[in-house]
């Protein structure tokens, strides 16, 4: 199947439903395995940090959730663009499904960041670049959620959120840069694309495992939500009726 064919196929929620079942299981199992391994590795095996002691282990849930929070928003921006340009129903569903997940990731990143901050910097909350950007990101998510609730018709709500998501994604680099320039206290990024991490491998390997685990979890969750949403929206069609009558998977 060529990329073009694949793109056309995605326009059919039914096709996506039919092929996505196994993906849900694969992502879910991978997620569970990776998260269990990564968490155990990070909590019990990795050596404690020279300066921060054992509180640094929070990194293994804080960084993955922060990365996911931002990736999810990028995905929503892309989905919004696809919806506006190609009118793909699936894109609308991806946007709708990602908002709650992304919001919970952002909230988790903020919470774990604050909890980590207390033993490290002595305060539950500091207005530094990363925390402020994450907080603004949370407001952007809340805005998307509120807009979808406020617009009465489903199709219009989807497209309105798409516009807002695209506008948000364009703004995010500017927001991050400006906040970063304005307030800097946070440590430098652990993973830079070109430089080697400042942590030894015994410390960042479990982090990598957990990041992958969270991504797989996102995949599994997204597939699950999409499949449910497809059933909901297409419930009038023959194939869904057949599926339900036959006691579907």
């Amino acid at each position: 199947m060529t990329l073009k064919e694949f793109w056309h196929r995605l326009g059919s929620p039914r096709w996506f439903y039919q092929i996505s079942g196994p993906f849900g299981w694969v992502f879910g199992s991978l997620a569970m395995a990776l998260l269990v391994i990564g968490t155990y590795w990070g909590l019990a095996v990795a050596p404690p940090d020279y300066q921060q002691g054992n509180s640094f282990r929070i990194i293994y849930v804080h960084v993955p959730s922060a990365i996911l929070a931002q990736s999810a928003y990028m995905l929503m921006g892309a989905a919004g663009l696809v919806l506006l340009v190609w009118r793909m129903k699936l894109a609308d569903m991806v946007l709708a499904a990602t908002v709650p997940f992304g919001m919970s990731m952002t909230a988790l990143a903020l919470f774990t960041g604050a909890v980590w901050g207390k033993p490290t910097w002595g305060a539950w909350w500091v207005w530094d670049a990363r925390t402020t950007s994450m907080l603004v990101l949370l407001f952007l998510y809340i805005g998307l959620y509120a807009l979808r609730q406020a617009v009465p018709r489903q199709e219009a709500a989807g497209r309105a959120c798409a516009v807002l998501a695209v506008v948000g994604v364009v703004n995010i680099p500017i927001i991050k840069y400006s906040v970063d320039w304005w307030l800097t206290l946070h440590q430098g990024a652990t993973f830079k694309l070109t430089e080697s991490p400042s942590m030894p491998p015994e410390m960042w390997l479990p982090l990598l495992v957990n990041v992958l685990g969270f991504y797989c979890f996102f995949g599994a969750n997204l597939v699950g939500r999409l499949r449910l949403e497809i059933l909901r929206r297409e419930h009038g069609t023959a194939w869904v009726q057949e599926l339900m009558a036959g006691g579907r998977t």
Binding site: V136, F139, A146, L164, I175, S178, V179
Partner: protein
């Protein structure tokens, strides 16, 4: 006039729409000036809250001015498309005007005159009320002048998305205020640097860049949002 919408030259279309906007603003001038009144009322509240202390107010003046400018803008944004939405003019505009971004640009321009431009011109008064050192006054006006187009344009996108929604005002603020963060940072930051006697060109360039970007993308985002809101 309807035929004129579809066949007029862009320049004529822009000027006609702009004239229409400014005329209707002048007719309900009191309503149009409310946000400005709010700005100075809120400054008064800050001054009272801080006990009129020159040092406190002077130190926070950059932040207070910029944040209140953002909030005062919010108040007028909701009304930006509402009147035309309610009497059907907006729908006509969407159906007939080609290219659509021209009358939208004219609307945004009119909105900016009554808010951003007006606030820039009145900012010396605000600066004096808040004990902002007067050698930072030029920078204050410059930041407002270069930052307010971005505020009006980004705000217009939010207004277009929420026109016709019940209680759209608060939702509008929620949608649009996070997007103002960079403008606020560079604006207030520039004034603070000016007070400290340091260079501010970087921030001003950033503000201009953000406004340029908003000017390029904004009208089309507003167009898309209006079509969605009027379900076309």
């Amino acid at each position: 006039m309807n035929g004129g919408l579809a066949t007029a030259k862009p320049g004529t279309l822009f000027i006609a729409q702009l004239r229409r906007e400014l005329t209707s603003t002048l007719r309900s001038l009191a309503e149009a000036l409310n946000p400005l009144v709010f700005l100075f009322l809120a400054i008064t509240l800050f001054a009272l809250g801080a006990g009129g202390d020159p040092e406190t107010l002077g130190a926070y003046a950059p932040a207070i001015i910029w944040v209140l400018v953002l909030l005062a803008n919010q108040l007028s944004l909701e009304a930006m498309f509402r009147r035309d939405f309610e009497d059907g003019t907006l729908e006509q505009l969407l159906l007939l005007a080609r290219p659509l971004f021209i009358p939208i640009l004219a609307k945004v321009c009119a909105q900016w005159c009554v808010t951003g431009l007006a606030m820039t011109l009145l900012s010396p008064i605000a600066a004096m009320m808040l004990y902002l050192p007067l050698d930072a006054l030029g920078v204050t006006m410059l930041t407002l002048l270069t930052g307010s187009p971005a505020i009006t344009l980004i705000g217009a996108v939010g207004a277009a998305l929420t026109v016709g929604l019940r209680r759209g005002g608060v939702l509008l603020a929620l949608l649009v205020l996070p997007l103002f963060v960079p403008t606020l940072i560079f604006g207030a930051g520039a004034i603070m640097q000016a007070v400290a006697g340091m260079g501010t060109s970087a921030q001003i360039y950033w503000l201009m860049a953000i406004s340029m970007l908003s000017l390029t993308i904004g009208p089309f985002a507003v167009q898309a949002a209006l079509r969605i809101s009027l379900e076309q």
